[in-house]
Amino acid sequence: MKYIDEFRDGELAKNLALSIGAEVQPGRSYSFMEFCGGHTHAISRYGLSDLLPPAVRMVHGPGCPVCVLPIGRVDMAIDLALNHGVILCTYGDTLRIPASDGLSLMKAKARGGDIRMVYSTLDALQIARDNPQREVVFFAIGFETTTPPTAVAIQQADKENLSNFSVICCHVLTPSAISNILESPEVRQWGTVPLDGFIGPAHVSTVIGSRPYEFFAEEYRKPVVIAGFEPLDVMQAILMLVRQVNEGRAEVENEFSRAVSRDGNLKAQDRVAEVFELRREFEWRGLSVVPYSALKIRRQYAAFDAERKFKLDYRSVPDNKACECGAILRGVKKPQDCKLFGTVCTPENPIGSCMVSSEGACAAHYSYGRYKDMH
């Protein structure tokens, strides 16, 4: 697979590992947050930590849309499916997120909810066309990467007058989450860790570009490297971060120059701007309520806003008290610090959302890295 296999080359990995090892300064330690679950996944899936020197510590961030989706939002979707008789379309990732009353979308489906996995918003639109007598609701989750396809779908539904189609918008914003980690008042409650830099998600930046990170780099004096999701990309980003730290720089660098520009995809940004506007605040699982951290559907497209159409009220539901997802998402704790990890909380019976997506810090550690605690 062109542009994939080359970036998974084990021989080059050895070379990069040597470079990193050579750059790391004796006695110094490096803590980098990979904001995005995709990087978490790559690190676990390819066993990257085995290749990194002990001085480099990778901290998993909150960049997994499934992990940060609060219970109350899943409850909304379940309510629509079970009590409003809608066809609820959703990406496969959300099906197992634990919600209230021991339910999940998968279990709500077993209880009779008409819940259908889709691969794309295009599929959800098609379901709406095919079922004119039914209400079809798309449960939209995701960061900036996944938002433009939702915008396209809403505009297309508008164009076609697909009045039975609507969207529960749960799209969230990467920069707000990073700010929150660095400065929100909750940091005091959860504590904080010294982070020496960030790996920024390449796919978010294909849309928003690298520019939005320039603020952090300057304001908080943290280096940021936007990196692809193949293992060599991640290693190269780490090498670039180590170099910035060593050199005292705090810049935005772009490892994924093959597809990320400073400005991103302006067409996609336009469509998002046409359909969505900032929410005043949004609850993130683990991060609590974060101001201006998510999008909502503009009044102009209100007819496609399931929250308005079905008069859904958001009800915040507290996480399980023992769950340390909040601290883990902020990088303050590790999965194995949670008392429930691997005993009560497992991928089959996730308690917190970090155990749901294979990109979640807890799930990734359970599925790919658990042996390290054991041996």
Binding site: L12, C36, G142, P148, N265
Partner: protein, 81 residues
């Protein structure tokens, strides 16, 4: 997050659609978010939509970076311990 892959455009269709290929697997995708896509281009595909084009020259450049030998290139064992 945001599973996305580079795929090759093998056919540009009507209504903002294209057929893409990855290792012999073909799929119809939407070009609604991207202009000026031509057959032969590589695009980054996410949830059925092309998000951006991939620049082959930049990709080569990046690959070249990986291969750059560090100064301690001949020293073994520090990295993989």
């Amino acid at each position: 997050m945001c599973l996305a892959i580079p795929v090759k455009v093998v056919e540009v269709g009507a209504g903002d659609t294209a057929i893409v290929d990855l290792g012999g697997v073909k799929k119809e995708i939407s070009l609604a978010l991207l202009s000026d896509v031509n057959v032969g281009d590589y695009v980054i595909l996410h949830v059925g939509y092309a998000l951006t084009k991939l620049d082959p020259e930049e990709a080569e450049r990046t690959l070249a970076l990986f291969a750059e030998l560090n100064e301690a290139g001949t020293v073994e064992g520090t990295a993989a311990s």
